[in-house]
């Protein structure tokens, strides 16, 4: 391990020397396989990074292994079988937080990147709170590529004007205007398949609990069956009355479409929706559509971050180190994020490259309280997340807050949350 750290340091040094030399191109050779679930809409952003890598390291044959499927449900399964079978890729995509720590770091499958962080000066450009999510006492385990925000509510300003309502600041406001919307034949809140319910739940939970108590849930100091814990499910149940009953058949894009078409008033979705609205549907941010923090979470930035790590036993790890260097660099970050619709994890990114939504998100990222997302792997391990999907299905059928809270507490214990 120590030997490897030393070699990483030496290599990084060589890399820096090469960068200051006459040309960026170097003589790294061989293959380099990256593993991600970025295909389809997110493909071009990854391609932009790959193009830069190929220009910097023309001798390396980069293999782009992607497995499609929302939030990587299939990709993660393939990755796990590959890792268990002793055939790791050189670098793979993983959500920052417990999805990285609870699954891979705990299993001792990742290489420590602390020296890379120090060499590249990343300790100063990545926010300390983010680096904490990527670290344990023993080291730093992955390089963040982007920041997404999960607690955003999307709507069409001209439609709200037409219906004579304003974007709700709290869920109580929402529950007050929802019957009016319903009377006009408008669905108050568009919802899609199971994971978007989890996504909505975390926004509701943070508005009911506030960011500190939200964190206490995951430290194990606040019980899911406490009064506040049950209150979250109670509020969530009241909001659900104003959602569509065919939600389970819809993709998140279809729920966003309902807002755009004027069939629904609001949709709570992560800010990849901005990419969909702007790039795919061709709408102008701030004019054709607009956004606010989801009700009751103003001043809180519920974040998730994609990152790439270096698995132990990666066959071409010199090439993988070069890949990680690119991901963490300003050039790499600013090539990737405007296309992905996310903001850079670096605090010194060139904001002029980004659209109106991303600029507002970047400003909030600087000023808001940061909380971790549950639905996207930050605050709880994969065992809990998997079981939570079942609890959510249970609640969507039974609508019983106490039962759901009890089940949450049971799965938190079973999955060692807060230990």
């Amino acid at each position: 391990m120590r030997f490897k750290r030393l070699t990483i340091a030496v290599l990084v040094g060589i890399g820096l020397l090469a960068a200051f030399g006459t040309v960026m191109a170097d003589n790294l050779t061989g293959d380099m396989e990256i593993f991600s679930w970025w295909a389809g809409d997110e493909g071009p952003a990854l391609e932009a990074l790959i193009d830069i890598y190929n220009a910097q390291h023309p001798g390396v044959n980069l293999i782009n292994a992607t497995v499609t499927g929302g939030s990587g449900v299939n990709a993660k399964a393939v990755l796990k079988t590959r890792m268990l079978g002793g055939n790791p890729p050189d670098s793979f995509q993983v959500h920052a937080g417990q999805e990285l720590i609870g699954t891979w770091v705990k299993a001792d499958r990742m290489e420590d990147l602390t020296s890379l962080f120090q060499q590249e000066g990343w300790m100063d450009v990545f926010p300390a709170g983010l680096v904490k999510l990527l670290s344990t006492d023993a080291g730093i385990w992955s390089v963040p590529v982007n920041i997404h925000r999960s607690n955003v509510m999307w709507y069409i300003p001209t439609n709200l004007e037409k219906w004579g309502v304003e974007a709700p600041k709290t869920w109580a406001d929402f529950l007050a205007i929802a019957p009016q919307l319903k009377a006009k034949g408008v669905l108050p809140l568009a919802l899609a398949t199971n994971w978007t319910a989890n996504h909505l739940w975390e926004s509701v939970a943070i508005s009911v609990l506030g960011p500190e108590k939200w964190q206490e849930l995951w430290d194990g100091t606040l019980s899911f069956t406490s009064l506040e814990g049950v209150a979250v499910w109670d509020m969530f149940g009241r909001i659900l009355q104003y959602t569509n009953d065919d939600a389970a058949s819809l993709s998140w894009q279809q729920a966003t479409d309902m807002v755009v078409n004027g069939n629904a008033a609001f949709n709570v979705m992560g800010d990849w929706a901005a990419g969909y609205l702007t790039t795919t549907l061709g709408l102008t941010p701030g004019v054709d559509y607009t956004w606010s923090a989801s009700p009751g979470t103003d001043g809180v930035f519920v974040m998730l971050s994609d990152s790439f790590g270096l698995p132990t036993g990666a066959p071409n790890w010199e090439n993988a180190i070069a890949w990680l260097q690119l991901l963490g660099s300003k050039a790499g970050s600013d090539a990737f994020n405007p296309l992905k619709g996310s903001i850079s994890a670096r605090t010194d990114s060139d904001l002029s490259l980004y659209n109106a939504y991303s600029q507002s998100a970047a400003a909030d990222w600087q000023n808001d309280v940061v909380a971790g997302s549950l639905a996207h792997g930050v605050v709880a391990n994969e065992g809990f997340m998997n079981d939570f999907a079942t609890v959510m299905e249970m609640f969507l059928t039974s609508k019983d807050p106490q039962q759901a809270a009890n089940a949450c507490e049971a799965i938190a214990r079973q999955n060692a949350i807060g230990e």
């Binding site: 449900v73 993660k76 399964a77 796990k80 079988t81 890792m83 268990l84 699954t103 891979w104 705990k106 299993a107 001792d108 499958r109 398949t193 199971n194 994971w195 009953d245 065919d246 939600a247 389970a248 058949s249 994969e382 065992g383 997340m385 998997n386 079981d387 999907a389 079942t390 959510m392 299905e393 249970m394 969507l396 059928t397 089940a407 049971a410 799965i411 079973q414 060692a416």
Partner: protein
Amino acid sequence: MHLTRDRIIAFSVLLPSLILIAVFVYGFIGQTVYISLTDWGKGAALAVNPEMHLIGFDNYKELFTSFLHGRFRQDLVNAFFYTMTLVLGSLTLGLFLAILLDREPRGEGIFRTIFLYPMSLSFVVTGTIWRWLLTPGGGINVLPTFVGLPAGNFLWTSSRGQILTFDWQSIPVITAIVVALVLVFLAIRTWRKGTHRRAFIVALPAVLLVLWAVFGQRMIPQMLPISEKHGFNLATIGISIAAIWQFSGYTMALYLAGLRGIPVALHEAARLDGANDIQYYKRVAFPILKPITLSAVIILAHISLKMFALIFAMAGPDNASTCHPAVLMYLTTFRGNKFALGASIAVILFLLVALFIIPYLVSSFREQRRRAS
């Protein structure tokens, strides 16, 4: 057994495939069973040498009794209904189509191809097509509007309705009554054949079972601390329709081959004796088709117990109303990292499939031996 040259050659030619099957089929079945008896999945489940302890049948016990695994039990119920609907639906529709084609209509070849074609599609393709057709806001639901009727409002795969609900606690009673009914049926049949003593021997356990179901059920401890409702999820109907659409062409082909295999002489003899079409099928054709029905039941039942891709493509991973143990096994293992629990679900499915396959294999071996001798 003589060790002739011929036998040695035969054995050595078969040996490689025997070894491969022993390792890659039976070896891995054994390993799955072993993993299901451990606690692999706690903490660092994905380590190079994950911590594993033998814990006996605790995983199985948890699946059947823990209140957190109600989803697994509902999935078992779903699998039962998927099997029933797929087998009955495909057999009925397949037989119907086969009878129509047996009458040699014009363009029979084209129809045969059309009916059989869905069989050649992959489940993912079928699932995607039917997912679109069964979108609540479009597809089949808007069909009535073309003839001026109001659009349908059934939610298909997103429906949360449940009918035929029963309490999980009453499963032993339900099982006892079903077994008793089968035994009574057998007893009546043996009685008619004239073997009265045997009929009594079969009828006795039936009576005991019924007596137990009526009076004695409180003697066994309850399986769950609370009552738990399960039933037929309406959301599964859409998936069953897609599966029947895919497999009825296949049963049609089986039945058609069977109908065509009936000697023309038999058909003509029945006609000469004055049998009409219904009588011909009922008294002559169907009895001859019995072995085909049996094979079709076995094949369809084990397909429905392994149904994964169709559900995954149509309803996604987390739609619990349509879920199947195979989907749950995948999620538990590869998303939740609970490898031992996932292995237990896999073993339970394996046993259920074996329930259908083993009697079939035994009976077909017997038949072969009978023919050989």
